[in-house]
Amino acid sequence: MNGPHDLGGQMGFGAVAPEADEPIFHADWEKRALGVTLAAGGMGHWTIDESRHARECLHPADYYASSYYEIWTKALERLLVRHGFVTEDELADGRARAAGAAPKRVLRAADVPAALARGGPCDRPVADRPRFAVGARVRTRTIHPKGHTRLPRYARGKVGVVEAARGGFVFPDANAHGTGEAPQHLYTIVFSARELWGEAADPTLSVSIDAWEDYLEPADER
């Protein structure tokens, strides 16, 4: 979706503000927000792709007014309601009422080190051979899906070069919507800044994205 999260090339947000000796957390609630988000994800009822989509579905005014842990918290609330674990009323006053959906599993403290050390690998076998060879010129498709996608707007309809073929990976555009992992070949595609941003762009700059096969077509196809 063309949501508030798709920030590449946007203007008006001002200077980057690096903070010297930045603490890992800026408030205790941020710690809990991180831990609760990961622990609730550990129930196994939604994917990382569905989580990301829940964050980017926040209203743009809300998204831009929220810190990142606020965005995570608001998205987690939506996921929990969507999947039947809690109600809006329960979140409003912090009291559990009805039982709600039963979790597939609950992440216990003793299992946290192993779960974090394992992570969630997203590489998957794909039977078909890669459609594009390293070195090939490709054009990213001009698409504006209403659902989740990882093809940023600034890199749509642009010609780039396949720098690496990364193997098969879960396809977020499908997986975010519960329609299965539908793995596809993934490639690193590099663009000149002039292709992305026009003739006035820095000639020494190049930018790459990692793009699934469905995002790409041969550069000479149209």
């Binding site: 203007m11 980057v16 927000a33 609760v36 550990g42 912090g94 992440l107 890199a155 993934l186």
Partner: protein, 204 residues
């Protein structure tokens, strides 16, 4: 216990909101508050940029490891004990005299947790995410880094599950240094690309 008073109205809104959320989930048995503690403990005290600094220092000191890091970063990094969440599929990108690498996630906040820990606020915020891909030189200047005009800049937008670690150039004047001393020159920002490794004078 910490969750006795979800109704407290003297709390700031996010403290109250997250407390209500955690309380409901714990009451329903959906999360284990001790697991939340363990997660926080991991990222507050165990996983952080010291991991990445060890990787970079070893790559500087050991050419065979550097080659391995180049060809299979996930395995090379795992050999030092750094694996897991948001580091499942690692790529190492090496700065050179000609090219400076910079990592961003324009779409969210993808970051190599297993080697750098949790991302700083600026990495997740709109100014960096919007400008890193269109005006990286301007961004770098805001970090106090002015690169020569002829140095090429390569920006890696982390749009998939690959996580990028920048291997900065080894500072001159560090010949013969042990890995541990070299690691002390490797800053978090140098592994994102918003900085360089420290000069030897800075380490003392």
């Amino acid at each position: 216990m910490a969750h006795d008073h979800p109704h407290d109205n003297d709390l700031d809104p996010m403290t109250a909101r997250v407390r209500a959320l955690e309380t409901v989930l714990a009451e329903k048995g959906l999360i284990d508050p001790a697991a939340v503690d363990a997660i926080v403990e991991t990222y507050e005290h165990k996983v952080g940029p010291k991991n990445g600094a060890r990787v970079v220092a070893k790559a500087w000191a050991d050419p065979a490891f550097a080659d391995w890091l180049r060809s299979d970063a996930t395995a090379a990094i795992a050999s030092l004990g750094f694996t897991g969440r948001q580091g499942e599929h690692m790529q190492a990108v090496f700065n050179s005299a000609d090219t400076h690498n910079l990592v961003v996630c324009t779409l969210c906040s993808c970051y190599p947790w297993s080697v750098l820990g949790l991302p700083p606020v600026w990495y997740k915020s709109p100014p960096y995410r919007s400008r890193a891909v269109i005006d990286p030189r301007g961004v770098l200047e805001e970090f106090g880094l002015r690169l020569p005009g002829e140095t090429a800049i390569r920006v890696w937008d982390s749009t998939a599950e690959l996580r990028y670690l920048v291997v900065p150039q080894r500072p001159s004047g560090t010949q013969g240094w042990a890995e541990e001393a070299l690691a002390g020159l490797v800053t978090r920002d140098s592994m994102i690309g918003t900085g360089l490794a420290l000069a030897p004078e800075a380490a003392s």
